[in-house]
Amino acid sequence: MSNPAHPDLAASGRVYAGERSRLRDNISRFVSLASIVALLILFTAMNPNFLGAPNIRNLLTDISPILAMSCGVALVLLLGSIDLSMGSIASCSAVMLTLLFGPLGWWAFAAVFLFGVFAGLLNGVLHAKLKVPSFIATLSTQSIWQSAAYIISGGQPLTLVPGNWGYVNWVRAKSLGPLPLGPVPPLFLIALAVMIVYHIYQSRTGTGKTMMALGANERAARLIGLGIDQAKIVAFTLSGIGAAIAGVFFAVKLKSGIPTVGEQYNLIAIASAALGGVALTGGRGHILMVILGVGLITVIQNGMNVVAVDGFWQQIVFGLLVLAAIYMNSDRRRRDLVVK
């Protein structure tokens, strides 16, 4: 009685929606790409230095941490879950890195990486094993890591002592061995590598494919025999790693560990992924396309800085962008859909 005896009819609405959803994916990507181009033109017109080599280098440097974070959160969004703790994981990482160069030297990078693994793993276990809804689990861990960042730093920004600058000078490298990099900063290359690795993992491994499948239909994915919990935990772990990498980028870029540096980037990362066509409801999206969203967000942010708009406008604009991006990707045609 509770089950309709007519799967085909029930399906027909869904099939239709499926067709639309492909179209919608493309639309949101096109919108992102077109907006980037339009904004580049606009900002260049307003300030001709916008597309100069120094600013391109700036742009790419700004993109790097957001890209690392966005690719991580994109995996979590594919599950239909969310990660709100990335900002404070990044902050904590930045603070830790600054402090750890002293005792650990180069190993500080490894330690922070491990911290990212741990923080992400914690989120994943809380969500997958204890069945805590992801938004509340990660909201809680965001509070925990934010506190940790304050406690470690004593509430003050930490500056990297000049003696330890040796560990971060590679950031300004203009060439990779004999290979000149031009306006491309090394950080961007690392972020790009993260994106490609995440993409390959997502699309070419069983666990990665499980993420997509369970985002689309968790019940079916379970009965098909896929490792649901494992995929969830891995996605959150990769998100934690992405956040830790972003934290490292902040620290080496600024030569300091600011305990609030990641705060605003949580929303920015989610906005980027959504603008790149990843649906918040899960099961739809493409990691490589996230770079479009990140590009758009960074151009807006950077452009607002270049034409000197006050910082609080950014909060307003990014908030609205998130709403717009998610609206574009949300499935409104299914009438029986219950959204909480």
Binding site: M1, A216, G225, G227
Partner: protein, 509 residues
Amino acid sequence: METHSLLFSASKMAKRYPGTTALNAVELEVRPGEIVGLVGENGAGKSTLLKLIMGIEQPTEGAMAMRGEAYAPRTPIEANGMGVGMVFQEQSLIQNLTVGQNVFFGLEASYVRCGFLDKRRMYEDTRKILGEIGIDYIRPDKKVSNLDFATRQMVEIAKVFSVVTRRNAGGNLILLDEPTSVLNRSEVDNLFDNMRRMAAGGNSVIFVSHRLDEVLDVSDRIYVFKDGRNAALLDRKDANEAILYEKMVGKTVSGEYYKEDRQAVPGDEVLLEARNLGRRGFFGGVNLKLRRGEVVGVCGSIGSGKEDLCAVVCGDESYTAGELVVKGRVERFASPRQALKAGVLSIPKERREEGIIAEAPIYENIAMSNFRAFRRFGCVSARLERENARRRVDELSIRTPGINQSVGFLSGGNAQKVVFARILSSDADVLVLNHPTRGVDVGAKEEIYSLIRDITASGKGMILLGDTLDECIGLASRIIVMKDGLVTREFDAPAGAKPEQLEIVKYMV
């Protein structure tokens, strides 16, 4: 109000879905003050008819009349307004509201004064309604979550009763869908008393149940449905269980239809064994052996525990008693994934919700239960996935424009064949088939039967929950019958010497 000899009538009712006909030329008449029983096998069309009467779905053909006037509700609310209400199988009470709030849920308007709810008056009226159907021992200000199951059922009936009697003094129609499945005898008796009292007040009741003794106990007349059609209409005095059985069982299709000649002879190796297996509150004491090449059919009505047995075997639920042995090892699956690792995989009942990832392409769906087999250099190779998919699509003659197509675009039969392709591509050799031909058109059904024969011939074993009893008998080489969570009988069903449906039904209801 003018009185008519009939309270409700439905004529030539039909409901067709793409590929299947759920109801065909069904007639039903209900007189005022009458309790009408409705019996039939699963899928005989009882539930579909109730849905049409309640306006949950619209008939493809046919007309209904209530008190002589044309009646064509488009929503349950409209049906309520015309004096028709239904007590659903799954309860629709709001757990954390009081009895009174539930009885008048959605109808509070007349108790609102200056924006506030006059609860006292509402509870007084609730008491009256509870009194009318003889359950005034229930306190209207008690939360539903604090009531036991049987009492909730009564409140549910009171709620429906209040809804339909609201606008109409007498002559209402109340539908009860399997209301007795969780009640004990005294609760059932109480329920029947209430039904008779409602009927004495000029209201009529349509009572659907798979328990024939209860139907015989309470109904004035009994409609028997079979394969979506009227099979018989009997007065209570003319009916007994044996007659009802006989009328209920569907047509027996020739063994040829089920490819009986290709039924494999079971091997010796026991693939799966249930020893006194049980899940508290759902089923218990199940003993079962599945050998290579064997199809064990599980028959039973709704609530017999067969679905839960299925869920336990494929790792979707855990068991609480006995043990489950797969290929000689005692297993306690934590998830379907673990079951798959031991070689057990299921074809779930709700294909769209449980069997396929509708958004994903065909080739990925086919590979999903066994990514390991398609790995190259540590990565899942789309090329290998596609090669396999192409082969399976040919082999199972899945009709699709291409393997990159999302499964969601396929028809029911083809989507089900994709599920079979996935299972064939996996390493599983114990398959749990839960309604494998549900929502599949006739042509595809035959192909699936043939496929089932091929699979068993290759030495795999199957536990089968058939879409119809006939299908279950036709395909199975052994049959266990379940009722109220216990196995009531086991039958051998070798090719050419299949048990009669009638005999099996006796142990089901």
